[in-house]
Amino acid sequence: MGTFGFLGLLAPLIAPYDPHAISGASLLSPSLHHLLGTNDLGQDVLSQLLFGARESLLVALAASSLGTVVGVVLGAWAGLRGGAIDVVAMRTVDVALAMPALPLLIVVAALAGPNDLVVVLAVASVTWPPIARIVRGQVLSLRSRGFVGAARGFGGGSLYVTRRHVAPAAGPLIASQFVDVAGTAIVLYSGLAFLGLANASTSSWGGILNRAATYPGIYDSLAWTWWLVPAGLSITLAVLGFALLGLGMEPGFNPRWARFS
C-alpha cells in the first residue's frame, strides 16, 4: 500500500515520460525505452500507470475521508444526543444502506458529466452510512461509561465530549473502517472510470482499462498484456492491500474475527 502511495507521490519525478505526451509509435511492445510499452496513441503505459496511482489513490482517499468525517460526526451526534435526532439519523442510514451504490453513482455521474469532484462527492455519499451506524453503536456503549458521564456532568458539550473522549476511544475502529471504505472507493471510482464516466483527460487505472478494453483491435495482438493487465493488477493489488490492512487492524476490535484467526 505504502509502495503505491509512494510511487503515486513521486510520479512526476520518476515517470519516464509525460503520460499524455506521444512518446513513441503506437502499441510498441515493452522495451528498454518503454518498460511497459505504449498504448494506441503511443503514450507510455508505465508513466500512465504511475500517474494513475496518484489519481486513483487521491480520489479514493478524498472520497473516503469525506465519507468518514460525515459518518463519524453524524454517528457521534446521533449517539450522544439520542431522542428524535437519533431516530431521524438512523432512519436516514437505513434508507441510505438499502440503496444500491453503483446504479446511483452511474446515474449521478452520467447526468453531471465527467468530473472528478462529482465522483468524489458521489462516492463519499454512499460510504458514510455504515460508518455512522458503527460510530453510533460505539458512542452508545461509551456514553454509559463513567468518564463520559462525568465529563457531561461538568458541563462538557457534545462537540467537546466527541473530541475529548469518543474520538480517541472509537479511533482504532474508525481507522479500520476508513481503510475498508478506501478500498470500496477505489473499486467504485475505477468502475465508473471503466464505464467512461470519470474525467477522461486524466489517466486513472479505471480509465486505462476503459481505453484498452474499448480499443477495437485490443484482442488482435499481444498489446493487452502490457496495456490492460498492469492497470487491472494495480487496482486488484490496491484493493487487496486496503482489505488486508483493514483485516490486520480488525482482530483487536472485532471479537468475531479474533476467534477464527
Partner: protein
C-alpha cells in the same frame, strides 16, 4: 419498523429519480435542440417545446404527473429506440434474470460447499488455502477479470462465443436455440458466479464455525455418528439459515456487477442497456434502468428481512 424503512427508501428512490436530472446542469430541451438544428430554434419554439413536454409547469405538478405515469407503467419514451422505455426494459430484463439466476446457483453451490468444508477443517491447511483463494476472488475487480477471461476463453481458445446472448438469425430448431443461449451464457455467468461465491463462502464458513462448538454435535459424535452425517445433516443444516438470507442480499450485489459483466460480454441485459444509454445520452432509458435495478435490490433486501424470522423455527413465536 423494517417495512416502513423500505417504503421510505422506495419513496426516496422515486424522488431522487425525479429530481436528479432536474438539479444537474443541462436541460432536456437544450439536449433535444442540440440533436436537431440549433440555428433555427427561436426562444418561442423553445417555450412551445417546454409547454409541449409540460416542463413549464410547477415542479410539484410535474412530480405528480411523473408518479401517476409510473403507476401506469409509463417510464417515458426512449430517445434512441423511439419506443416506450417499459417495453425496451421488458425485453432486456429476462436476459439479466437468466444471467444472475445462473450465477447465483453457481455461487451458492461453490461457496456453500467450500464454506462447509473450510469451517469443518478450520485452521488446517485446506481451510487457510480456501480462505486466501476466496478472499482474493472477493477483491478482484470484475471489470478487470472479465476482459481477461473473455480474451483467453473466447478470443484465444475459441471455446465460447465472443459476445451477445444468442446467435442472431440462427434457425436450428428449439433444441439448437437453447443450446446456443446456454453456450453464450457460460462465460458471463461463470465469471459473475465465481466472483460472488466469495461472500457465500465467507458467510457459510462463519455461520458453520459458530455451530461447531455446539453440544448437539458433541452428543452426535459421542453416539458414534459418522463424520459426514454430522457435517452435512447436522451442522450444515443449522448453519444454512444466515447463509440463505445472505444469498438474497447477494443478488443485489450481483445485479450491480452485471452492469460490468454485460458490458464486457456484450450480453443483451439491463446492465448493457444502461451502459449504452450513457453513451447515447438516452436519459429516459438510463433512469428507467436505474429505477428497475434499484427496485429489484430493495425488494430482495426486504424479502430477506421478511423471510428470515419465518425460516427459523427458533425465532417463531
Amino acid at each position: 419498523m423494517r417495512a416502513s424503512s423500505y417504503v421510505l427508501a422506495l419513496l426516496v428512490l422515486l424522488t431522487l429519480n425525479f429530481f436528479l436530472p432536474r438539479v444537474m446542469p443541462g436541460d432536456p430541451i437544450s439536449l433535444l435542440i442540440e440533436l436537431g438544428s440549433p440555428v433555427f430554434v427561436t426562444p418561442g419554439t423553445r417555450l412551445a417545446l417546454a409547454h409541449y413536454y409540460g416542463l413549464d409547469r410547477p415542479l410539484v405538478v410535474q412530480f405528480g404527473r411523473y408518479l401517476t405515469g409510473l403507476l401506469h407503467g409509463d417510464l417515458g419514451i426512449s430517445v434512441t429506440y423511439n419506443r416506450p422505455v417499459t417495453r425496451v426494459i421488458g425485453e432486456r430484463l429476462p436476459w439479466t434474470l437468466l444471467l444472475v439466476g445462473t450465477a447465483l446457483a453457481l455461487a451458492t453451490a461453490m461457496g456453500w460447499l467450500a464454506g462447509i468444508h473450510s469451517a469443518w477443517r478450520r485452521g488446517r491447511h485446506s481451510d487457510r488455502g480456501l480462505l486466501v483463494v476466496f478472499l482474493a476472488l472477493g477483491n478482484l475487480p470484475v471489470f478487470f477479470i472479465a476482459p481477461v477471461v473473455l480474451l483467453v476463453f473466447a478470443v484465444k481458445l475459441h471455446w465460447f462465443p465472443l459476445a451477445g446472448g444468442a446467435t442472431p438469425f440462427a434457425t436450428s430448431g428449439r433444441i439448437g436455440r437453447v443450446a446456443d443461449v446456454l453456450d453464450h451464457l457460460v462465460l458471463p455467468a461463470t465469471v459473475l458466479g465465481v466472483l460472488v461465491s466469495s461472500s457465500s463462502f465467507l458467510v457459510m464458513r462463519g455461520s458453520m464455525v459458530a455451530e461447531i462448538g455446539s453440544d448437539y454435535l458433541l452428543l452426535g459424535h459421542a453416539k458414534g455418528l459418522p463424520d459426514r452425517r454430522l457435517k452435512y445433516r447436522y451442522a450444515a443444516r443449522n448453519a444454512l439459515l444466515p447463509a440463505a438470507t445472505a444469498a438474497a442480499l447477494q443478488v443485489g450485489q450481483m445485479v450491480t456487477s452485471s452492469v460490468f459483466i454485460e458490458t464486457v460480454f456484450a450480453y443483451p441485459g439491463l446492465g448493457k442497456l444502461m451502459f449504452d444509454s450513457i453513451g447515447s445520452r438516452d436519459y429516459p432509458v438510463l433512469q428507467g434502468c436505474f429505477l428497475i435495478l434499484t427496485a429489484i435490490v430493495l425488494t430482495l433486501n426486504f424479502l430477506a428481512d421478511l423471510v428470515y424470522p419465518r425460516l427459523d423455527p427458533r425465532v417463531r413465536p
